[in-house]
């Protein structure tokens, strides 16, 4: 008999809710002592196990049973003595016993495959930056933001001085991406004072000069590494 309930977990002020599943294997043969009730806590997104959930407290029957059991007979005996301790410490004990990583999804790529993807995106980004410089965009920066955000790898930030120029940069980037890489961007179709082209792992921002100063994305992503571009895309050096 499986019982499902939803609970809200508060992490750092913002509320994040996951599905918690209670599972009672009454028919399990692994337990030598008769148990009336067994619950195994499982969260959908398992990295949540790392957070100290001091608010975690469900014992709907309000009985003498502890609210969380660990799987396995020896674990049961050890944990029965720690009924009243903090759940944070309980998780620490679980980590020590079973190791830091209990479950890893198979879809995680190996580091070398990640690096290949990064270099591919980098070459794409550098090529887009070159196209932008061909249309005389100013102050082109390519930022490697992968360590800061998970949803993209590179930002390209460029300044254009008029809307037709933004239009020109946007359409050239779109054409090149579609012809050479087969990527279609989502984002602004009409020229905008802040035009954004989203290619998945590369995001292109084209600003008018006032908007660039107003939004100041470089400051927000100040911790990102700046990628060196070939010298012809650098702004001319004025003596």
């Amino acid at each position: 008999m499986a019982v499902c309930s939803t609970t809200t977990l508060s992490i750092g002020g913002s509320v994040f809710s996951g599905q918690l599943r209670h599972w009672e294997p009454n028919e399990s043969k692994l337990f030598q002592k008769p148990r009336s009730r067994f619950r195994w806590l499982c969260l959908n997104d398992l990295h949540l196990l790392r957070f100290r959930t001091k608010t975690l407290n469900f014992n709907p029957r309000g009985s003498l049973l502890p609210s969380l059991y660990a799987y396995g007979k020896e674990a049961d005996d050890a944990f029965l003595s720690k009924v009243n301790e903090d759940t944070g410490e309980m998780f620490d004990d679980l980590m020590k016993k079973y190791g830091e990583v209990v479950f890893r999804k198979n879809e995680r790529k190996s580091p070398s495959a990640e690096l290949d993807d990064d270099t591919e995106s980098l070459s794409f980004a550098v090529e887009m930056a070159k196209v932008a410089s061909d249309v005389k965009a100013a102050d082109i920066r390519v930022l490697f933001v992968k360590p800061l955000v998970y949803w993209t790898r590179f930002f390209i930030i460029a300044t254009a001085f008029s809307r037709p120029q933004i239009d020109a940069i946007g359409s050239r980037i779109r054409d090149l991406a579609e012809k050479k890489y087969g990527k279609v961007p989502s984002g602004d179709a009409k020229p905008n004072s802040w035009t954004l082209l989203d290619f998945g792992d590369v995001v292109v921002h084209i600003f008018l000069p006032q908007q660039r100063a107003f939004y100041n994305l470089e400051e927000f992503y100040g911790n990102a590494t700046l990628i060196e571009l070939p010298s012809e895309t650098q702004p001319p050096f004025h003596t």
Binding site: T6, T8, G13, S14, V15, F16, S17, G18, Q19, N44, D45, V149, Y150, W151, F155, S186, G187, D188, N192, S193, W194, L196, D198, V203, H205, Q211, F214, Y215, N216, L217, F220
Partner: protein
């Protein structure tokens, strides 16, 4: 589930404090707005002596709701309050900083600008 007369907090530094929804943009008879929907709102409370002032009608994007957002993988996100970010007619956010965590659904709904200004994306 934001509908007309709903009061929302403002989650950016655009100097408005509280908005009241007056219309949900989308179909003509659309009842409710969720995360990622554009609404027309009137400013009920604003920081004094700023460009945005009380009883001004503006457009906003909803970024957090008390009603839960469900994802296909079974994940459910529910915030503690209803909040929106003020945008202009072109779709650019009026403020320069966003406060709070943002759901990644906003990226698929073409609000990558808000996502790129967000401190954390869930």
């Amino acid at each position: 589930m934001i509908q007309p007369q709903t009061h929302l907090n403002v989650a950016d530094n655009s100097r408005a404090r509280e908005l009241m929804c007056i219309r949900v943009i989308g179909a003509s008879n659309r009842r409710y707005a969720h995360i990622g929907d554009v609404i027309v709102a009137v400013i009920k409370e604003a920081v004094p002596n700023t460009p945005l002032e009380r009883s001004e009608v503006i457009t906003a994007v909803i970024i957090s709701t008390r009603k839960e957002l469900k994802r296909d993988n079974g994940m459910i996100i529910r915030y503690d309050d209803n909040a929106a970010v003020v945008i202009d007619q072109e779709g650019n956010p009026k403020g320069t900083q966003i406060f709070g965590a943002i759901a990644r659904e906003l990226r698929q709904l073409n609000f990558t600008k808000i996502v790129s200004l967000a401190p954390e994306v869930l």
